[in-house]
Amino acid sequence: MSMAAVETKKITLRTADNHEFEVEEAIAMEFSTIKTFFDENPDASEDTIPLPNVTSKCLSAIIEYCKSHLAFRARETSSSIDEQVRTYDEEFVKARDNESLKELILAANYLNIKALLDMLNQAVADRIKNKSVEYVRRFFGLENDYTPEEEAAIRAENEWAFEGVDPDDD
């Protein structure tokens, strides 16, 4: 057996805006979509994998997330590691505006990265918790397609939910 160091296999990903990212195989395998592809095509020698639904901005954030979480997992589990992971996740989300968050969810969903997706979904849920109906509609860019009668009826049915809603601060 050769004593030479084995080079870690790298995989190239091309984003929707034609940027190429070279990542270690271990990181690419965090994307279940890609892992499945390689599982089903073990002899595939794809040089570059196109990701037409992911922008470079999203992909670089996602790669960073996966790298960090891989590093956390490589260390021994302990409550202090858990705390560090929680802090990392909080920071990851905190700085991002609502649009970026939604874009990341779409990308994480497409790439099928469960842990990231769960974390992002929780972050969005936290952002719309205790907010008004109008705030939630604005957050997601949704039209009100209730008729006035329907809307009155559904609000009456859920009257209990409207006590103590945060005033909109946007």
Binding site: I128, N130, K131, N158, A161, F162
Partner: protein, 164 residues
């Protein structure tokens, strides 16, 4: 001169069409119901009630009982097993939440705690059985009582928030 004007207008129309495509949010949540469900699953009860008022699609999804099941036992670890068939038979998880879980939580006061104890879960499930039993009694309207009217001996007063 006229031809030039027409060409400009055509270009403007094309630009408007492209602009409109840009304006439609890239991430339109209602196109991704699986993601929407995952987000709604993580809301508290009140926010779920608000969510039902957002639009008809959200209303339909918010009525899904499995969302309320998540809500009822989210902080219980391990979640009570094999109660689902009983709860569903007695009226479903949304009813459990509204009739029993929510009043118990509000009685516990404003102090928000991260997790439920088994006892709180058991109490809610017991109240839920009482609720169902009394609904059965009401619909038989013995003693000429109107359906839905509670007899003085009803235990459902336990579900009403108390002003202490």
């Amino acid at each position: 001169m006229v031809q030039h004007h027409h060409r400009n207008r055509h270009r403007q129309d094309q630009e408007t069409v492209e602009e409109n495509k840009e304006k439609r949010p890239k991430f339109f949540i209602n196109d991704h119901v699986d993601i929407l469900v995952e987000i709604l699953k993580r809301l508290d009860g009140r926010s779920l009630g608000v969510a039902a008022c957002v639009c008809p699609l959200w209303c339909t999804i918010a009525r899904n009982d499995s969302l309320w099941e998540d809500l009822c036992f989210r902080h219980v670890s391990p979640p009570p097993s094999s109660v689902r068939s009983v709860v569903v038979a007695l009226g479903g998880y949304k009813r459990l939440y509204m009739a029993c879980v929510r009043p118990v939580l509000s009685r516990l006061g404003r102090v928000r705690r991260a997790s439920w104890t088994r006892d709180e879960v058991q109490l809610s499930l017991s109240l839920f059985c009482v609720d169902c039993y009394e609904r059965l009694g009401g619909s038989n309207s013995s003693n000429g009582r109107l359906v839905g009217e509670l007899s003085p001996s009803s235990l459902m007063f336990l579900c009403k928030p108390v002003n202490v």
